[in-house]
Symmetry: C2
Subunit: 272 residues, 2 copies
């Protein structure tokens, strides 16, 4: 396999840095090729702005989606963005690794998504008709590839459980897993999440490292999250509403978009 790991922590001597090294070493030990984008080390620019679109004339109004489309089509993206797109096309597996800050990714990683996931590349792909609403949610440029998150959180696992005060971790990560990764076509694997990371001692670290190694060994085989395909018949066009006969009467929220109609999520709730 070819694996791209995008790393978003400012301190290499952090738990995140140590876990990244564990993941990379295990993948290489398995014979995989690994490339790492280290956003802080690279001095990644986080903001979408005029500098991203060199072909924009001085007085031209910046319309981000239109400018993104034009830059991708005319090959006038900036060099840093082109390099990341090349890596995404090279890799068959993408890993995003980050500390959970305010229940989502750090700004620098969001800026990687905002700038690299260009119109015509990651969105605005495919035809819109009575039978299809673009190539997205299971189809698209990155279809056939796998993606997963490695996330560290300061809070307790219980606080992210089905009925925990923060909200369920799977729902908090849905805008990323479904909205950012599944959207351009990735098969999204269950995330690897570590909790209470401020309290780690050496034996705690070794047990997490071993869990992570195991996940790295099953990267090619583990079943993806069973999100519904947009153009597979489950959604009405053009409202893109889930068909009334699907999803189950007692399912609501993000769980509706799982193929088993949220049965798994509901089961989790009952266990917890």
């Amino acid at each position: 396999m070819k694996v791209l790991l995008v790393f978003a922590h400012p301190e290499p001597r952090s738990l995140n840095g140590a876990l990244r090294d564990v993941a990379v070493r295990e993948l290489e030990a398995q014979g995989h090729e690994v490339r790492v984008t280290d956003l802080y080390a690279d001095g990644w620019k986080s903001e979408v702005d005029r500098a991203d679109f060199p072909s924009l004339t001085r007085d031209e109004r910046l319309v981000p989606a239109a400018a993104s489309k034009k830059a991708f089509e005319t090959d006038t993206q900036t060099q840093d963005v082109k390099a990341e797109i090349e890596k995404l096309l090279w890799a068959d597996t993408l890993i995003l690794q980050f500390p959970l800050w305010w229940f989502t990714m750090p700004a620098i990683l969001k800026g990687w998504v905002d700038r690299v996931f260009a119109y015509g590349f990651a969105y605005g792909v495919g035809e819109h008709s009575e039978r299809r609403w673009g190539d997205r949610y299971g189809e698209g440029t990155l279809a056939g590839k796998r993606a997963m998150l490695i996330v560290t959180a300061g809070g307790w696992e219980e606080h992210y459980a089905a009925r925990g005060v923060n909200g369920p971790i799977d729902d908090l990560l849905f805008p990323i897993n479904h909205g950012i990764l599944y959207y351009p076509g990735y098969d999204v694997l269950p995330p690897f999440v570590v909790y209470r990371v401020d309290r780690f001692d050496e034996s705690g670290f070794e047990s997490v490292a071993e869990r992570l190694r195991e996940r790295m060994r099953t990267l090619a085989t583990i079943a993806p999250i069973p999100y519904r395909r947009q153009n597979g018949g489950d959604y009405l066009i053009p409202s893109m509403a889930l068909r009334p006969d699907l999803g189950g009467a007692d399912t609501q929220g993000f769980a509706l978009h799982l193929e088993d109609g949220g049965a798994e999520a509901s089961r989790k709730t009952k266990i917890a």
Copy 2:
């Protein structure tokens, strides 16, 4: 009222820029004081990094939460962060305005949250005991103040409905409304969301502008989203799980954290 509007669009001549002007003018017409933080115009720095903590010694490991705590306690935060905290303490109402990019805020606004919402200010506040788990989710430094989002989206409203393919807009915004705004104490008002913003003509704009003016007139009176208070007895300590007798048997996901047990969310589902 004193209103702080934090604006996160790179183009002043955009729909977002026009809506910001509409909001500010209406608020001023009502006699309110308004201050605007224009993140792009200010050249806001999005990344939490060593430069944020001038008192960190050269070889010291950067632990973001610990460094944030120390900088806040010792008054060694950078000037840009101090200025924003001063504005947050000044304002009794906070508005965050942004285009929805990849189902959440642009990187530059996330960077404002990551850097300004310091340890000791927006989190890490209050005691942990058998009766309280810190001052958060309805309590905290910013309690008694109101906050709301103004959001523009390219997609169709139907796609963000209860059963729409993107997921319900209220759930997509939950990590922001509940996790970023309610967490440090704000009463969070229902968001103002505009859809299909790439297709606007003049009459379309005027009708949205009038809706926005109306929302600005009711800023002080509209009922906040009824999130449950963490320390009000609804959650078990220390698991912070919602009490088994609350939330309703058929409620799951984020709707559990609404005081009416998701009745409203469930009602919406049935209407849609």
